[in-house]
Symmetry: C2
Subunit: 394 residues, 2 copies
Amino acid sequence: MTRIEVPDGSLFGLDNLPYGVFSTQGTAPRVGVRVGDHVVDLAATLGDDVFAQPVLNGFMAQGHARWVRVRERITELVSGDVPDAAVHAVSDVRTHLPFEVADYVDFYASEHHASNLGRLFRPNAEPLMPNWKHLPVGYHGRAGTVVVSGTDVVRPCGQRKAPDEDSPTFGESRRLDIEAELGFVVGTGSELGSPVPVEEFEQRVFGAVLVNDWSARDIQAWEYVPLGPFLGKSFATSISPWVVPLLALETARVATPPQAPQPLPYLRESSPWGLDIALEVELNGQVISRPPYREMYWSPAQMLAHMTVNGASSRTGDLFASGTISGPERDQRGALIEITWGGKEPIQVGGEERTFLRDGDEVAITATAPAASGGRIGFGEVRNRILPAKGAQR
Amino acid sequence: MTRIEVPDGSLFGLDNLPYGVFSTQGTAPRVGVRVGDHVVDLAATLGDDVFAQPVLNGFMAQGHARWVRVRERITELVSGDVPDAAVHAVSDVRTHLPFEVADYVDFYASEHHASNLGRLFRPNAEPLMPNWKHLPVGYHGRAGTVVVSGTDVVRPCGQRKAPDEDSPTFGESRRLDIEAELGFVVGTGSELGSPVPVEEFEQRVFGAVLVNDWSARDIQAWEYVPLGPFLGKSFATSISPWVVPLLALETARVATPPQAPQPLPYLRESSPWGLDIALEVELNGQVISRPPYREMYWSPAQMLAHMTVNGASSRTGDLFASGTISGPERDQRGALIEITWGGKEPIQVGGEERTFLRDGDEVAITATAPAASGGRIGFGEVRNRILPAKGAQR
């Protein structure tokens, strides 16, 4: 038996307990929980086949009351002695995509980000579209290309047309970018024809992950009118392997910034679901931005209510992301296009001037939130490397 | 034993053989093939468990060579005597969603449709966006709300703002519309980082279905800038229950209309995948349009090549639809917004002036294509009724 020691200041103490899917050499992927620098095998300790599955979907579908009970049992379990065979050093495990993604929706909920992009893309118009303060603007992305942290990202090819070119050319993206976001995972879905009220957010949403919504700005700029982003986004969306339970984020809840005009009734919250989560974005080991989630205009409860208000059903494994998280300051912006103002204002990284991503670059996004015990809890990281394009016709 | 009689002129002769998922009273959904006015139970006749599944995905994933062999075996089987218990009158079975939808993509491949919508939405600008003739414009839709023919469609609610209103109001859609489309189902997917060449279309795509991509034009008009359609589309997308194998559409292949400028190399076809498929749209039993698929500018092989050219993977069950099919004539348009020119030019249906859909309306889309034997094959139908909105705050 083993007593798991949680190092002082660990971001994975008993007030976090994030779930993931892991494997060790020669074993099948299964559900585990991270405690300090260890992963506890839930299939081996809790005696429920739902944890022997290679995705969290089965457990997530069991619903909120079950999530509460399992969290209590895990707390008891890891406060005592745990069988040796059920405990692995986090450095010894491989983490997998933690859940099967049903539908993937990406919102656009940061006023700073939407305003910055409006200024960059439509310099002679109002930065925000007329609808922006009335509803959380969002669109569907590609569920099949959501990948887990550690998966290399191949630079995409596609059609691009610079403003000074007559016609598009085919080739590798020259403006490959990141988008630092938070994603929310639906545990218990809702039926066709039954909108989810804002109040049901915490009953239905299982947890949150970090998201890097890779964006090929040149492909996107050429393709996106009038039906929105498509290939500029669909080549890859990376998520962190540990799903932080919504139950661990109670202490992080804050009010969203003031919403004016007042939203329509279906978007009004009776209790706030803004979240005081602090992100960090590293490029090749150097912090280039610290996006503050608490600045987000629309809350995730409002996003879910909006996404279903037309009667659309939701399913276990639906992932909805916040959109790029940007604060008011330059070093709080969650995308390179904003940080470098469309590539015109480079930043210094590793002694070089940098704008968009180069082959070989490594991007890591991390985040922490205040914990119930007074310390902080962590989201782990989403970290990926950029590989050169394959077979680009240059 | 039963010898299945195929009535003269049937659209479901041996040159069609579409696959679906059906059940009879008290039995589990399983795979069948339609022959004349009968459904043959493939689980009961071919002795392969893949047909006992409630979706076609397992069979579709087996690949092109297997699709060819099974089609040959079915042809032999239904040319002789079939066990009584494996044959059901089509009127005695219930049809189900034939496959689990992985990702759903909707294209915009009709030049007539895109031009009409451009004129309606942006009257003072060029009807087609600059990118339209360079690439098949498309976007991701909601896979979880793809439903089978026969599923009632509840009028959606949402935010709408008329041009003469100061701010949006919440309520039921006042401009509920249809979009008559054809959808293509991926059988064998492709890996992340491996674009599908146009030539691989027929190896990878299993078959085609009719699609009614319901659209709430007022919700869509308010929400769609800058990230594209979202709630105006995501409440329901209906498909026909019988998947017509691509193998049955060889005789329907035609060249697409001339494409100028010449597409970039990755979109050039060595053999044509335009399709001579004739659709009919009925509103409450009256034909209101006959959209010609052969007028579509972009072919489905070009759509698949474009969808994956950035390295996006594809999966068994991916559904990509053509976008509204409209021909050059008014009575060839596939959406009410075009037929009635934004509601300003009503049509006569059942002795009444009609523009957008009313509660209680029933819409049916059917289609036929030339058959190898000289007759025609049918797609069956996608037929749905509009139910009143639930709990709209009027």
